[in-house]
């Protein structure tokens, strides 16, 4: 079914609770009814095929074959090696009976963990919208 809302932005709102998206409307046709009148939020009153378009940050896909490429930006690919090595050095430290090997492994695990954390923070926090530069040039007023 198609929508009958000419200006949906004036009536319909959304919000999130846990893993659920709520779509509510202010539209109501009974001015005397209890809690269903115009101006009160209530469930969306129309069935609209593909009526909602949701923009979201998605979970990257898991890898399952050695030919796969990790489903994240390529700036993160080299730091994945650091993550793997950190875990493997931790395993080695835990399984080795030699205190010297354990100590060196723990140090290397900490080094790779640090490199991983640094790379994730540096590349993960930056804006990834592929645009940059000045938004506005503010000229000084000499008068």
């Amino acid at each position: 079914m198609a929508s009958t809302y000419k200006y949906p932005e004036d009536y319909i709102s959304w919000f999130i609770k846990g893993n659920h998206l709520a779509i509510v409307t202010l539209k109501g046709n009974d001015s005397t009814s209890t809690h269903s009148k115009y101006g009160q939020y209530k469930p969306i009153d129309e069935a609209v095929t593909n009526g909602i378009l949701i923009h979201y940050q998605a979970e990257p896909n898991a890898v399952s074959a050695i030919t796969d490429t990790p489903d994240v930006d390529n700036v993160f690919h080299t730091c994945l090696i650091d993550y793997v090595k950190a875990r493997l050095y931790q395993d080695k430290a835990g399984s080795s009976a030699d205190a010297g090997i354990s100590g060196v492994s723990m140090n290397l695990a900490a080094m790779h963990e640090g490199k991983w954390n640094e790379a994730v923070k540096r590349n993960g926090m930056q804006k990834r919208d592929k645009t940059g530069g000045d938004r506005r040039v503010a000229m000084p007023d000499f008068t």
Binding site: K42, P43, T69, N74
Partner: protein
């Protein structure tokens, strides 16, 4: 295609420089763990469409419902009477008086 990217095979070969006997599946599991952690950041922006049901307030954001894995919704549009998607506002104070459990 990106200028330079690493396949799992290349990642395994680099890891095996230090750990020649590291199992392939174990390395792949660790890579998947790392990818889950990277998913906390806005590394992958997607969109999906969903169909509304009359008098239904809640729509599940999960794999089973729409075939998508959503971390954070940042914008929702609703189709107007001419078929155009229009941004609808987010209700910050969502303590509305009526509630539906569907």
């Amino acid at each position: 295609m990106a200028v330079h990217s690493l396949t799992i095979k290349k990642i395994i070969s680099r890891v095996r420089q230090a750990f020649p006997n590291a199992p392939e599946n174990y390395i792949m599991n660790l890579v998947n763990e790392a990818i889950v952690e990277l998913g906390k950041y806005a590394t992958k922006i997607e969109y999906a469409k969903a169909t509304t049901v009359a008098d239904q307030q809640w729509y599940t954001l999960s794999d089973a419902n729409a075939g998508v894995e959503i971390n954070k919704v940042f914008r929702v549009d609703f189709m107007d009477s001419s078929g155009t998607y229009v941004k609808i506002p987010r209700l910050v104070n969502n303590e509305i008086p009526t509630m539906d459990i569907d």
